[in-house]
Symmetry: C2
Subunit: 234 residues, 2 copies
DNA sequence: ACAAAAGTGTTACGGTTACACCCATGC
DNA sequence: GCATGGGTGTAACCGTAACACTTTTGT
């Protein structure tokens, strides 16, 4: 309900406070070893020169999702990116300039595909999620919160594939899951587990770049996944 | 980040759109059988006479949490209520009167303790979560979302006790968990599981109201729980 | 032939599930 | 004494975790 009293009249919204609403994006990528986040160096005051998340203000004719999508496209050049709302942060003094609440979204992108030009243009840089510098305002808390949500989601939905190339090796997939949970898995157990899920296809193709023997490439199969209603991933 | 471009100037927040921000509360209670939600009948247009969640607008000097707490106190007379943010809903036309985004919180209250006067004053009523009427705007979606979050949280944190009296029987606790997940548990397995968690104390007191033999009362022990870092509940 | 990564199965363990009878008491 | 709800233990099952050697191939 959007209303707080019960008088028998049409409620006058006009007397209510309006505030600025922002959207901040935790953009995750994976380089084969570490889970990374994309940060940009602020080019203006306040906190000029400090690192921050990609963000912007909600426009009146947009949903939060639309705004997040717009920002992602603006900063990475990518469309159709997996995104999930994390939470809304509303401490009164979180932005020293003006009262602003902000909704955080995390996004998963294939780190190979985003625009290098745009990275340069915005003084953006990839940092390991675990070794990122301190961020402005409450952005550190947003990252932690996003990481928790990513872990939860990746344990139950096949979203990890959004962080990988379309074709990937088992070892890449394992390294990704290890990076997300900052842990180690046993190679045989991991492969058995993934195979038992029956959601990826083994291709006839090998990646020959990492060994003489070469390692088979796999591909996520959304159709197969639909038929495995609700199996947990990890 | 709250900013969307990188020009080397102080950013002018003034040109950005401001919107109304609301808070809606999914208030859960438990009557011994069903998981309930507290709804109020709107006394004004639009949608006058329809059922809706408890809600109100964010004031400029409040956080969302503060606003939710204020609304809860206003509608139930209770303070120090367990609350968790669910998500923010932002469809452009979700409120037909004016552009409004709203953040949903769920709250857990002991259904015995809230003010009956206030319930009457606001034409409020408890409904089984599974049999509630259709609500205004996007409130049905909020309830579903809240239920999912409640299930997730109650599986990992001892928040169920907020829905019960301070002293409760094992059967009450079991019925509560059954209501939250809309499922049935085996009595012996449930008791064994709960006892193995080592987070509740068996009292020397019995509830004599439901049987001739009487059933022992238990009490949540926060100290014990702290020492059981991270054991899952269900 | 050897170095370097890929690929492959089995056993042990622990937690979850299934299941049925006796106990205490008030009427 | 009997009806009613309260209280209790064990065995089967299943998924997870631990573990080491063989294969391939370029140099």
């Amino acid at each position: 309900m959007d209303i707080e009293n019960g008088h028998e009249i049409t409620y006058r919204y006009e007397k209510e406070d309006k505030v600025l609403v922002a959207v901040d994006c935790i953009i995750f990528g994976f380089d084969g070893e570490d889970l990374k986040i994309l940060l940009i160096k602020r080019g203006f005051e306040p906190e000029k020169g400090k690192w921050s998340l990609v963000g912007g203000f909600l426009k009146k004719e947009e949903t939060l999702e639309t705004a997040a999508t717009r920002l992602l496209e603006h900063y990475t050049g990518l469309e159709n990116i997996y995104m999930e709302q994390v939470a809304t942060f509303s401490e009164v003094d979180r932005d020293p300039v003006e009262r602003t609440i902000t909704t955080a979204y995390y996004a998963l992108i294939n780190i190979q595909e985003h625009s290098k030009n745009l990275i340069h243009q915005f003084s953006a840089k990839w940092f390991s999620a675990s070794k990122a510098p301190h961020l402005i305002f409450d952005h550190d808390a947003m990252v932690q919160h996003a990481l928790q949500r990513l872990r939860h989601r990746a344990a139950t939905e096949p979203i990890g594939f959004d962080l990988l190339p379309e074709k990937f090796t088992m070892l890449q997939l394992q390294k990704l899951y290890e990076a997300i949970w900052d842990t180690q898995f046993d190679k045989r157990n991991f492969i058995n587990k993934i195979n038992s899920l029956n959601i990826i296809d083994k291709l006839d193709e090998k990646d020959m770049t990492t060994s003489r023997k070469g390692s088979f490439l796999y591909q996520f199969n959304a159709e197969k996944h639909k038929q495995q209603n609700g199996k947990l991933l990890i």
